[in-house]
């Protein structure tokens, strides 16, 4: 699977030298003032998501010598997206390993090492390439503990950028949240902020089960304030707990990964334009899914919109809407809605690509429609 790696996206290629956030074609990015006021200023420091992931890896490599990281370009090259920067020099070539180009090879090696008691972190250059390795992730990683009668744990972390980036076309732009979210035996997390990235990746590495960490390339270069607590090496977030990023009373917007930031921006516009207070839930974890937090919120707001950039069919938001039928039907004043990516293989051309994914405008419009504003 080397086809497009060497010219891997205008954005990705340049991501190695400059933060992705500066790529002009990504119009979706808005200033982050909104989120910042939710953090205390005492001891808070700005971290890019890339730095947060890097710190999480370094801390876990330091903490537990059974942890090692393996993938294409992770060692000498410091990672295709520089997430593993400096780790080879610090931890040596036995624990930071450049692999031949063979996704099922190194994913399988990782699973085998996990079955033997190590805690590998397997990096996929992007999750799009992990389709080759999906048999190892699902049939071996997710099922062996069960099929071995519980004697054979598989403590492994699979991580890498997921979803669309900028100008990388259909074969590099797919979102796998729903794919892995449907497999019993896997846990799946989707960090948005730097705190999410650090806390969830560390939790994934420490978890005794196989965990899929779906990062987002467009977020790597984005800076978020990191609280003093989150800067510590013992900071871990619980897998399976969503976070309310913005408190509101009129409508619940459930989002994951990069859509969380967009939903927060949309919420501010909704307030300015209509005086509506939207509650924004950052899912953080796709499996297990925190239905309770969504339910509590919907009880209060009586309106639900699920937001994701994946395909609409059989997606994370389809699941959330199905759960709303099962658990929240009586609290809903209007049918729950979803905002998703378009059901087309992601096109390359700038305008077409933009049309394929939800932006803040559509989130505002759809919410206003739902609330009959």
């Amino acid at each position: 699977m080397f086809t497009a790696r060497n010219f891997l996206s205008r954005a990705a290629g340049s991501a190695l030298r400059k933060p992705v956030v500066n790529v002009p074609r990504v119009t979706a990015f808005q200033p982050l003032k909104i989120q910042q006021k939710y953090y205390s200023s005492g001891g808070t420091k700005d971290y890019t998501v890339r730095e947060a992931l890097n710190e999480a890896l370094a801390e876990e490599l330091e903490r537990d010598e059974k942890v090692f990281i393996m993938g294409e370009e992770v060692a000498q090259y410091n990672g295709a997206y520089k997430v593993t920067k400096g780790l080879l020099d610090r931890f040596g070539e036995k624990r930071v390993i450049d692999s031949p180009i063979t996704e099922h090879g190194f994913a399988g090696l990782g699973v085998g090492a996990a079955l033997a008691g190590l805690n590998p972190v397997v990096e996929f250059m992007t999750w799009n390439f992990a389709m080759q390795a999906i048999d190892q992730i699902i049939n071996s990683g997710a099922k062996t503990h069960y099929m071995s009668g519980g004697i054979q744990p598989c403590s492994i972390t699979f991580r890498g950028p997921n979803g669309f980036a900028a100008g990388v076309a259909a074969q590099h732009s797919q979102d796998y949240s729903a794919w892995y979210g449907s497999i019993p035996g896997l846990k799946v997390v989707t960090p948005w902020s730097a705190e999410d990235a650090k806390g969830l990746l560390k939790a994934a590495i420490r978890d005794p089960n196989p965990v899929v960490v779906l990062e987002n390339e467009l977020l790597y270069g984005q800076a978020f304030p990191m609280s003093e607590e989150a800067q510590k090496s013992d900071f871990v977030l619980p897998i399976g707990k969503a976070k309310i990023e913005r408190v509101g009373k009129d409508v619940t917007l459930v989002a994951l990964s990069r859509c969380v930031g967009q939903a927060l921006t949309a919420a501010e516009t909704l307030k300015k334009k209509y005086g509506v207070e939207a509650e924004v839930i950052n899912l953080r974890s796709v499996k297990p899914l925190d239905v309770e937090t969504i339910m509590k919120s919907v009880k209060k707001t009586n309106h639900l919109i699920a937001i994701e950039s994946g395909f609409p069919s059989f997606g994370v938001s389809s699941e959330i809407l199905a759960l709303s039928m099962e658990y929240m039907f009586d609290f809903l004043d209007a049918p729950a809605q979803r905002i998703t990516g378009a059901e087309v293989p992601t096109p390359y051309a700038i305008g077409l690509e933009q049309l394929s994914f939800p932006d803040e405008d559509i989130m505002v419009k759809k919410t206003a429609q739902l609330l009959r504003l």
Binding site: G105, A114, A116
Partner: protein, 448 residues
């Protein structure tokens, strides 16, 4: 089945980058040390290539394609011929009578168990089975060469390995009947054996996935500086899977102490090797990946043992992979779902059965050495048959695993929705007791 309780006193060692190799020697080595960027200087008028991808290649003025047919096929090593005669008298198998007889008995037991279980599937008493007829020599012979705590990843035709290691007839039967003593708690198809005690990983259905796993486990042992190795079994059909190629390549580049044993039995279900591959078997691929490789007569159990012992030595001392291609003929059908006479002549199979077979070959050799008689053989077969049937009846009568096993072990600790499902099932069973007959399950309703 955690191999490494703790990586012994290694924190410092692991945290410090390995020694740097400043010389070009590193360039040729397949170890990670070779990754050091050593500048390659090519003297003018050099006769060799020094492209980084083929450092030992010589320049030539002759345009010539390498033709596989021009290369001699890799030879097949054997000690004893089909008549049970030692081929080279100076190379008598180095084995005690006691061990030789154990190996023979394990092969015979495996073949009788296979026969009985095949029949029992035909009677509808178990759902599925795979016999290993014709390949007992590879399984038992290789098992006899390993240390008891070497780690094994097998495919599904290595009953002989388990038999040699001491998997009891009861253990076999408990798995085949998926009763409450089955280590897999009734979650696997028959033949997917496992044993924590014998360091044998659970057998996994998707072909060849175990090959990269074995490399990962070997890497773990390497980091631990263990005196153990990993052994991985697979068939020549599985070697067409990408996993095989990925695993061999990565085992070579990471220098992992693993011995790959390919059972080349001539068929992948119905596909003959002629349609499976074009080259010189699986062995030629090992050479292509830069792995020490040997081909052995799989019907010669003593040759298999010797070759595996040597391979184990190389893997352990030199910390690198070795490939063994053991040749045999699959006398059996692929599985109970297969009737191989649809794609091969019965006479061909019968011919192989009579011409050569690991069990009869060894028996001839044992009898020639006066270590074994026809009478003893008859006695052994009668006794083994009895023992198997006893274990069979015991296992068939046992209860099925408790109901809770439906939900447990999906995660280390059950997730909340699984606990909810479990509670819901309990509620329904209590509400409609007449609809659920739980007598067959361990602890009945209380098993939930």
């Amino acid at each position: 089945m955690v191999l490494l309780n703790s990586i012994r006193a290694s924190s410092r060692r692991l945290l410090v980058p390995g020694p740097r190799l400043p010389t070009t020697a590193g360039y040729f080595s397949s170890t990670a040390l070779a990754r050091e960027n050593v500048p390659v200087k090519q003297p003018s008028r050099s006769d060799s290539v020094l492209f980084p991808g083929a450092v030992n290649s010589k320049f030539t003025n002759e345009l010539k394609f390498q033709k596989p047919h021009d290369l001699p096929a890799i030879p097949t090593y054997r000690l004893i011929d089909a008549h049970g005669v030692v081929v080279d008298n100076s190379r008598e198998p180095d084995v005690s009578q006691e061990l030789a007889l154990k190996m023979y008995k394990d092969m015979v037991t495996t073949s009788i168990m296979d026969l009985l279980m095949y029949e029992s599937q035909r009677q509808g008493r178990i759902s599925f089975y795979m016999v290993s007829a014709g390949e007992e020599g590879i399984a038992v012979g290789s098992a006899a060469a390993l240390a008891p705590d070497d780690v094994i990843f097998s495919q599904y035709r290595e009953q002989g390995v388990m038999m040699y290691r001491g998997f009891t007839l009861d253990e076999f039967m408990n798995q085949l009947f998926a009763n409450k003593f089955d280590y897999g708690k009734g979650r696997n198809m028959p033949i997917h054996f496992m044993s924590e005690r014998l360091h044998m990983h659970p057998i996994s259905s998707p072909l060849a996935t175990q090959i990269p796993h074995s490399v990962g486990a070997a890497y773990a042992l390497k980091l631990d500086r263990s005196s153990r190795i990993v052994v991985c079994f697979f068939g020549e059909g599985a070697a067409s899977e990408g996993d095989f190629h990925a695993a061999l390549n990565i085992a070579a580049t990471r220098s992992c102490p693993v011995v790959f044993i390919c059972r080349n039995n001539g068929f992948a279900i119905s596909t003959p090797t002629l349609e499976q591959y074009k080259g010189d078997g699986i062995a030629s691929r090992g050479v292509g990946y830069g792995i020490d490789t040997v081909r052995v007569d799989g019907n010669d159990i003593m040759a298999v043992r010797e070759v595996t012992m040597r391979a184990r030595d190389i893997a352990l001392k030199e910390q690198k992979p070795v490939l063994i291609e053991a040749m045999s003929y699959r006398v059996s059908h692929h599985s109970t779902s297969d009737d191989s006479f649809a794609y091969r002549a019965k006479v061909e199979v019968e011919d192989w059965k009579h011409r050569d077979n690991p069990i009869t070959r060894m028996r001839k050799w044992l009898e020639a050495k006066s270590w074994w008689t026809g009478e003893q053989d008859q006695e052994l077969r009668t006794q083994v048959r009895k023992d198997i049937l006893k274990a069979f009846v015991r296992a068939e009568k046992e209860k099925k695993p408790a109901l809770e096993n439906l939900f447990l072990d999906i995660y280390k600790t059950p997730s909340r929705d699984l606990e909810e499902q479990m509670a819901e099932l309990r509620r329904i069973i209590e509400e409609y007791p007449d609809e659920y007959d739980l007598g067959a399950f361990d602890r009945g309703k209380e098993g939930l």
